[in-house]
Symmetry: C2
Subunit: 350 residues, 2 copies
């Protein structure tokens, strides 16, 4: 049966959605429950976080809900973002800028995003060592046969181009889902280009989200061979790949509706899920670097492996709750449904 316990430094999640409003109180707390001590926070609130002030304000709220977590803040890339704002943000400790496909609405040529309007901003980011976090999908475009299945693959040429034009800009291809992405990151082979991998993409394929709203996220999980490529690169211990859960809670009522929003919610159980999945494909020994080392090295953060708080995984049946209830802004009862709800996994945090 192998190991019965695993002790790790509290882990790093380099891509998470902590939302805003009533739900954030619940989710921020759950970051710690999942064994996570560092949360790299996405800026896609409504309205999006576009300035240093907004990011710092958001950080303050998160800290008030859960002071045990280190929050790394990001800005949302829009044409409003200026080099001046980048300098200011860097000064204030903001770490990255997140690019979403829908944020790029101008200068796009037949559905392919063009980043050229952002080159001044990227030059500034390069100078102050700020990281560009990319949601790497081009918009769907039926005329060009582009849909959710190949939107990531179609994006990759943009990543290559960007790295060619800004070889010193730190870039993360977020939540990779295809073997083509893995191949490209390995091929680029630069300390400045990395890739985050979620919990759920290591387990799901298309069949798992077809008709199953709680497994539906963007980018969508793809073929078994794509999942295999994600697993393989972790198995080989490649240093440019690390955890970014992309955990994205939505109320159950919204998920189980005519049009489910995209997002898989893993926050409260991230480390137990990962232990279960890593053991499943035979690389529990890679958990430590994938969760505690690779990301920090890429981001140039202190490893603090000795001083970090420790968490202990225990091999024991762990039934994932059906849901986590909370009260929304209107006093209504809501709930978020976790990944693998009502299923039993083999690892639990002590």
């Amino acid at each position: 049966m192998g190991q019965q316990t695993i002790e790790l430094p509290i882990i790093d999640d380099f891509h998470t959605h902590l939302r805003q409003g009533a739900i954030t109180k619940l989710i921020a707390k759950q970051v710690s429950d999942g064994g996570v001590g560092l949360a790299y926070v996405m800026p896609n609130l409504q309205p999006p976080i576009k300035t240093t002030e907004e990011a710092l304000e958001y950080k303050k709220i998160l800290q008030s809900y859960n002071p045990d977590v280190e929050y790394l803040m990001t800005l949302y890339l829009t044409p409003d973002l200026t080099p001046e704002e980048i300098y200011k943000a860097a000064e204030a400790g903001i770490v990255g800028v997140k690019s979403y496909p829908r944020g790029v609405t101008t200068n796009s040529d037949s559905g392919v995003e063009s980043y050229t309007i952002y080159y001044d901003v990227f030059r500034a980011m390069e100078k102050v060592n700020m990281v560009l976090n990319i949601h790497g999908e081009v918009p769907s475009s039926p005329d060009s046969n582009i849909c959710v299945m190949n939107a990531e693959i179609e994006f990759l040429k943009n990543l290559e181009e960007l790295h060619r034009d800004f070889p010193n800009l730190k870039i993360v291809l977020e939540h990779a889902t295809t073997k083509e992405s893995i191949k490209l990151i390995k091929q680029i082979n630069s300390p400045n280009v990395a890739c985050s991998i979620t919990v759920h993409h290591l387990q799901l394929i298309m069949d798992d989200w077809a008709g199953q709203c709680h497994n539906f996220c963007k980018p969508v999980a793809k073929y078994p061979t794509d999942r295999e490529a994600l697993r393989s690169v972790i198995k080989e211990g490649h240093p440019q790949f690390f955890l970014g859960s992309d955990s994205a809670p939505h109320p159950r009522a919204k998920k189980e509706s005519v049009k489910a929003p995209a997002g898989v919610f893993t926050t409260p159980n991230i480390l137990p899920y990962l232990a279960d999945i890593f053991e499943g494909f035979g690389c529990l020994d890679k958990l430590h670097d994938f969760c505690c080392v690779n990301g920090r090295k890429f981001y140039g953060l202190p490893l603090n492996l000795d001083t970090r708080k420790k968490v202990t995984l225990v091999r024991t049946p762990n039934c994932i709750p059906d849901e986590y209830p909370y009260e929304d802004e209107n006093g209504e009862k809501q709930a978020v449904v976790p990944y693998l709800a009502n299923k039993t996994i083999n690892w639990k945090l002590q």
Copy 2:
């Protein structure tokens, strides 16, 4: 603006699910609402329709709910089916036998269905001119990289084999969704091998069912180029392709849940949908043969084009209802959600 009205003989739907229990009363009525006069009825009830008696009993119920429709009945292919039952069924006017991937649980080799255990039954069917209706997907098998996206393509070699071994057996590849299927049917080029096409696969691509439970069906809608292939073969007026809606109602509460059952519900508006979609890709002139001629010719049924009741499509805004309510067996209020609920299409039946 083109034509303002279209008169057609009442149309034929060569693949539909009329269900059982309380919902059937609603659905059987709606067959006529959709402009359909001939319904080719799937046998996948619980338990499945496996004998002549059961099929005739089911037919009687359907006739009691809506006597205006001609019901063509089918049996479910399982290892229980015998040549004797085939002769009996043919005698009783049962037209086809439906093969489902999950029904083939034995003699399957690495996820590929083998039909050899049914060869005695097929020989009998060939003799009495009974039609084999195939759900053409192999079971998903991650080890072979087979999932919902390529399950139909992987199946096609089985269809080729079957036609090679039974050149006189009438076979319909039901609800085709891929360009590869269209290509194969054209290539086989036999009066004995045909293909049904649904309403929704002429309009949906992957993006449309990702997170949208009411658009989720099996086989899943695929790439824009696949949709294009379906449209093209209709546009060229190919005689081996005809309407089989695969309309498959499920209660809203089941659809909008953790795990949505597969099925798009088009019954009450089939002909208006088709007029809207056919006009969209510029082949309203193909509606008549696709809906009233090609299927009957394949099945060897009288065309009755002059004597059939007529229906008239009118170009006018037609807002598809949000849902159709009904009362289930327990007296509970339920509803089924139609395809394109709350959307407005351009054609309506007079």
